[in-house]
Amino acid sequence: MSAHILPKRLYYTIFAILMFCTYLTVQIAFFDLGPLNTIAAIGIACFKATIVILFFMHVKYSTRLTWAVVLGSIFWFGILIALTMSDYLTRVWRTFG
């Protein structure tokens, strides 16, 4: 943990961006964009989470070990989803022959 003291201005800026993204994601939800709705919603949520992690949780200024821990947790969650969904998404495919 570095003794990196960030300026309060940065926190207010991130706060404003988070609020704007919330407004954006709600507005987008009222339009029918097909599959883009889900992509937009998850995408905006990922962006919000990223800036909370980088700035509120100070990860941008943290050690490589902290980065490895954060990225590792996301990657492992990804394994859980991806390999399980590899079953669910291929069940309707016909088997050979």
Binding site: M1, V26, D32, A41, A49, V70, S73, M85
Partner: protein, 223 residues
Amino acid sequence: MLPEAAHHPHVPGLAHHFDNLEQQAEATTLGMWVFLVTEVLFFGGLFLVYTVYRTWYPEAFAAASHSLDITLGTINTAVLITSSLTMALAVHAAQLGQRKLLMLFLVATMALGLVFLGIKSVEYYQKFVEHHVPGPSFHFEEPQYAVHAQIFFSLYFLMTGLHALHMIIGFGIMTFMLWWAWRGTITAEYYSPIEIAGLYWHFVDIVWIFLFPLLYLLGRHAH
């Protein structure tokens, strides 16, 4: 007693098995991050269940999601984001040794947490009145989606309930932090308890950042 101990006067806040405050702070921060990894996988299991059934029953999930109060959900999202701001400012105050400001921001964070839980209770009550609580009294307005909507509501209560439980635990942690700040235990040299409490609080906020669109924003356009 170790011969070395004679050279180390008691440093406030330093546990005896650590060499110095910096090592202790690095260890406790890493410890909190590793704990948050376990929380990612813990909530992750529920997100997996959500993903599977959202893929299987998209219309039922959209219909059920539409019955949630998007205004209250959005307000709650804003409340939690604000509480993350006040938490970050609390850590900032602690880093600068500003005791009164630290206490102020901790109280603000706790107050916003209570607002969140209050609004959540209102929402739960609404669901109860509408007979959307899974169980014998469950009734959904669109009968063709009823069975699968019950899965949605089961996930809704489970995921937001687990999230609310974590918020309550976070409130308890903040109470401890407030007490330590008041007692003067937290100084510019020793503020890592506030920092790691902040990490926990921000994590709980991040879980909600994902819960909100997945639970509230499906099917808004269709109806």
